[in-house]
């Protein structure tokens, strides 16, 4: 973890096509940051992604504070926007999947998750920051872990030990001889794979998106020499296109993350059939 972030920024490498140096392709090193404070080897440090994560929290809290701290019955513009976002998650996600009666309790968690994930994703295209925090596995992992523990806890609470076991294993007598195999697979799929994919889905999307953006950005700079200028222009257009695309993907991934969360909670609350 001793990567120098300045090394991977395209505009700081003085390297161009025909200069006799190779293409500084983005890679895993693009996702490593030198600590701003502390020592990378001691597990006691503070780096850019942490700064962005905390900053993102502050931005969300600040935004909702400004909108909802003193809410009015006749809303102002900011309150109206915030209400639209809140309502989208509440009605469009929670009520749709869990239902109004049971879902109300989980609205704050799901709303927090959605906006938290979204702002972490959005950092990807915000100038200067330009890094999706969720492209570091730790952040999606911690969110997925929260959801996982909530889901498992709820399942046990709702169905008891045996019921929860049946729930996790998809117990179904009619399967007959295949039942042990089916139960093993289901148990593995539910308890181990599910939280992993939940986190990795978000992580990988953001990771790939950032890599693409980096690739085209670096290429635009790298090819800015001689005949390469034409290719550079194409590459730059791709940067714009990919940025717009990422904007879309960031929102979609935040949506998918909370949608899955709700579907897990719904599965835990549902009667076993």
């Amino acid at each position: 973890m001793s990567a120098d972030p300045t090394q991977v920024l395209a505009f700081e490498t003085d390297c161009h096509l025909f200069d006799g140096c190779g293409f500084p392709a983005p890679g895993l090193h693009s996702f490593l940051f030198e600590p701003l404070w502390g020592d990378a080897d001691s597990n006691l440090y503070f780096n850019k992604t942490m700064l962005l994560a905390l900053l993102g929290s502050i931005i969300i809290v600040g935004f909702f504070w400004a909108a909802f701290a003193k809410p009015k019955i006749v809303p102002g513009k900011l309150q109206m926007v915030a209400e639209a976002g809140y309502d989208f998650v509440r009605r469009g996600v929670v009520y749709e999947t869990i239902g109004k009666k049971e879902g109300e309790k989980y609205v704050p968690l799901v709303v927090s998750l959605f906006f938290f994930v979204w702002i972490m994703n959005l950092w990807s295209i915000i100038p200067i920051a330009q890094f999706p925090v969720t492209a570091i596995i730790s952040y999606p992992a911690v969110l997925a872990a929260i959801v996982y523990f909530l889901w498992v806890g709820l399942t046990f609470k709702r169905h008891g030990f045996v019921g929860a076991f049946k729930n996790f294993t998809g117990y179904d007598k009619s399967l007959g001889a295949v039942l042990p195999l089916s139960m093993t697979i289901e148990l593995f799929s539910n308890l181990l794979v599910r939280p992993f994919t939940h986190a990795v889905r978000l992580f990988a999307n953001m990771f790939a998106g950032h890599t693409l953006l980096l690739l085209f950005t670096i290429a635009s700079w790298y090819m800015l020499n001689g005949i390469g200028i034409a290719y550079s222009a194409v590459s730059f257009v791709m940067v714009i296109v990919m940025t717009a695309f990422e904007l879309f993907i960031q929102a979609v991934q935040a949506y998918v993350f909370v949608l899955l969360t709700c579907s897990f909670i719904q599965g835990a609350l549902a009667e076993h059939h």
Partner: protein, 181 residues
Amino acid sequence: MSPLVQLAAEEAENPLIPPIPELVIGLIAFVIVFGFLAKKLLPNINKVLEERREAIEGGIEKAEAAQTEAQSVLEQYKAQLAEARHEAARLRQEAQEQGAALIAEMRAEGQRQREEIVAAGHTQIEADRKAAASALRQDVGKLATELAGKLVGESLEDHARQSRVIDRFLDELEEKAEAAR
């Protein structure tokens, strides 16, 4: 070897293995967001949304009540107006009837007075005629007596019969006149 290649070579780390400090900061960052939203801001807005819903429903109810009231008042006014029209028509009818009766009465009265006057006139005329006739009869009798006296040379004035003779004569005259008419 460029520093980048060197960096790439150094990286053996799996990007799927989460670094612990980031986990901790991620948890803290999320808890901050969740804490503020769940404990304060979302309950806040829920309260206001509920109030707004009530305000809107209350407003609708009020409007409905006002409309109902307006409707009832309108009907009341319409009823009153119809009643007033009816009353006016009735009064007009009555006035017309009264006027007609009054006119008829006055006409009858006029007629009666005229007849009275005419009757009084007739009576007067009759009385005058009788008086004139009586006076005339006396005068004519006297003149005739005087004339007869002169003719016969003696006065018949003081004879009681005299007058009866004259009266009989005059009555005969009258009867003849009546018959001739």
